[in-house]
């Protein structure tokens, strides 16, 4: 049987409560209403933000040697393109697989996510997808090299070396070892003439500032794939002293959802792949205004609404889970509380055992950590809060964040939260606009700089974002 997903929404709960009071209305009306609602919802379905594009570009030769290549090296997706353009040319998932080909037996490298139908020619049992990142720092440079190979290849590179300056993003306060190994890789293996490193959240903030979405002084809240950052900006430059990082992100939300669903439906455990759960998360999850009030709504669920498999596991004995023949009911997956329980992890990392502050509390910590205590500055910071990064696309996130921040700021403080124009691509766009400006070459460093000045200089390398 194919698996069908039943999504419990607030309207269906209200409808159920209504029908319980008026049982004469009957089941048929309920079904027709639900199917009507589903039609309407399908038409307003959410736009999926993550689409890979790996078409090989053919105009590499038309760009002069001083056009920088801009790379947004994120833990979820790798985006590469030319400076000055509005969209990256090549986008793919930042993972590498090294399976063995079944026919010839040789080990090959596959970068990014691909059509699973084509992977049947490869023996993927001993090679899972591997990422170059540990938390948000690049540490596996062999994998990074495969990814850069693929990225440059699809961009159309065909000379004897990459003859363009490269602007690549890194995490906040990147350790020296990672930064120097990355520069070494770019200079030695690809022959890049000059390199610059920047923080993706800062590029996104500057881009939105140029478009008038946020002001010169403000906070950037960046829930990403592995980590969430809150960075205060004063006079257009990020103040790293006030920056905070929590090690929770979209990956943890998806992982939580995957574990919950596989525990609830043990028969389908093998079918819940991480990619499918990520699709489910992007389509159905939202953030509740307050967790307690949403659970109140769900507590009034009628007993008959619970699927039969869950009601039957109340019988003692583990043989119930295995020997009962699977009925059609088992293939219906009900997504009720999981819809808002999983993204709640971003606000309460204690739910998955990570003992750090959630996103709303981080804003308060970040303001507290600023070196100068200035009330006017704090008011300016909270009246221009920008949300960027892939994990901020949940419906209801703005309201919840605003309520959370209002709780920790003094009464009457101005709070204004805006979402970036395009939370996923804005970091690349900001970097591209930056690299196209005339003062960009002053912020890069060349191979000579790297070898002469050594590691201490690399540690002190600071990027200026206002030009």
């Amino acid at each position: 049987f194919p698996i069908s997903i039943i999504v419990v929404s607030r309207t269906s709960l209200k409808l159920h409560a209504y029908l319980r009071e008026r049982p004469e209305r009957g089941r048929r009306k309920l079904l027709s209403f639900i199917s009507f609602r589903r039609e309407r919802k399908r038409r307003r379905s959410r736009k999926m933000p993550f689409i890979s594009q790996i078409q090989r570009q053919s105009d590499y030769a038309y760009f002069p040697s001083d056009t920088p290549i801009v790379i947004d090296n994120g833990a979820s997706y790798f985006r590469i393109g030319w400076a000055g353009e509005n969209d990256p040319r090549v986008i793919f998932r930042n993972i590498v697989q090294r399976p063995r080909h079944k026919g010839t037996g040789e080990t090959v490298t596959i970068v990014g996510d691909h059509d699973p139908a084509l992977l049947r020619y490869f023996d993927c049992t001993r090679s899972g997808p591997r990422s170059a990142f540990d938390n948000n720092v690049v540490y596996q440079f062999e994998i990074m090299e495969y990814i850069l190979d693929f990225g440059f290849d699809r961009l159309g590179a065909n000379g004897s070396q990459i003859d363009h300056p490269v602007l690549i993003t890194e995490c906040v306060c990147n350790p020296v070892h990672s930064r120097s190994k990355m520069s070494e890789l770019l200079f030695e293996t690809y022959g890049v003439p000059s390199v610059a490193f920047g923080v993706d959240a800062a590029f996104s903030y500057k881009y939105n500032q140029r478009h008038g979405i946020c002001n010169e002084d403000g906070l950037a809240i960046c829930p990403g794939f592995n980590t969430t950052h809150v960075i205060p900006f004063v006079a257009g430059e990020p103040v790293y002293k006030g920056c905070t990082r929590t090690n929770i992100g979209g990956y943890h939300v998806t992982d939580y959802m995957k574990q919950l669903l596989s525990l609830k439906y043990p028969h389908h455990m093998a079918r819940f792949t991480w990619e499918k759960v990520e699709d489910l998360k992007m389509e159905h999850c939202y953030i509740a205004p307050t967790y307690a009030s949403e659970t109140q709504l769900f507590q009034e669920i009628d007993r008959t609404f619970v699927p039969k498999s869950e009601a039957e596991t109340s019988q003692p004995g583990s043989e119930v889970l295995k020997s009962r023949p699977l009925t059609q009911e088992d293939f219906k997956i009900v997504l009720g509380i999981e819809r808002f329980r999983c993204p709640e992890v971003l606000f309460n990392p204690n739910l998955v055992g990570i003992g750090q502050a959630g996103v709303d509390e981080m804003a308060g910590v970040s303001i507290r950590r600023l070196p100068e205590k200035d009330e006017e500055l704090e008011k300016r910071l909270t009246s221009s809060i920008l949300m960027t990064g892939g994990s901020c696309l949940y419906p209801g996130m703005c309201e919840r964040l605003e309520a959370g921040i209002r709780m920790i700021r003094p009464c009457g403080a101005p709070i204004k939260i805006v979402r970036a124009l395009d939370p996923v691509l804005d970091a690349w766009r900001g970097a591209s606009a930056y690299a196209a400006s005339a003062q960009f070459p002053q912020q890069t460093f060349t191979r000579m700089d790297y070898f002469e000045k050594g590691e201490d200089w690399i540690r002190g390398y600071k990027f200026r974002y206002t030009l």
């Binding site: 084509l118 062999e142 055992g353």
Partner: protein, 124 residues
């Protein structure tokens, strides 16, 4: 290679013209490739952060502190608010129906629910 695999250009080619040193020269077959990469913990240790002033921001400094808000206790199975705690399995539950289900769960599932919360006992 099958034709559709070649057409889809799934596999990364071994020789790329724009590279000065190819992968097969850098990592010859047979040698243990890449097992010597330092993990994040080792990278941070090697940074010698104690030699630098502590108020300068670095990777370890900027981590957020533990949360000051009272922790939210939700039921491990249903997700509703859970004021109760089962002493035998260490799981949280919301009402008596969930409690019956918990007592019926095999041990493997109990450990997996606890592992979600990072509360499982890991025997090394």
């Amino acid at each position: 290679m099958e034709s559709e695999v070649v057409e889809a250009e799934l596999v990364l080619p071994t020789h790329l013209s724009f590279k000065k040193v190819q992968m097969y020269e850098k990592y010859p077959k047979g040698q243990s490739r890449g097992r010597h990469w330092k993990h994040l913990k080792q990278i941070l240790q090697a940074e010698n952060l104690q030699n630098y002033p502590p108020d300068e921001p670095n990777y370890v400094n900027i981590e957020s502190p533990p949360s000051m808000h009272p922790s939210m206790k939700i039921c491990d199975i249903t997700g509703l608010e859970a004021p109760y705690h089962d002493p035998r399995t260490n799981l949280r539950y919301a009402n008596t129906e969930v409690f019956k289900q918990i007592r019926a769960l095999p041990n493997e599932y109990v450990q997996r629910y606890l592992a979600l919360r990072n509360a499982a006992v890991v025997l090394k």
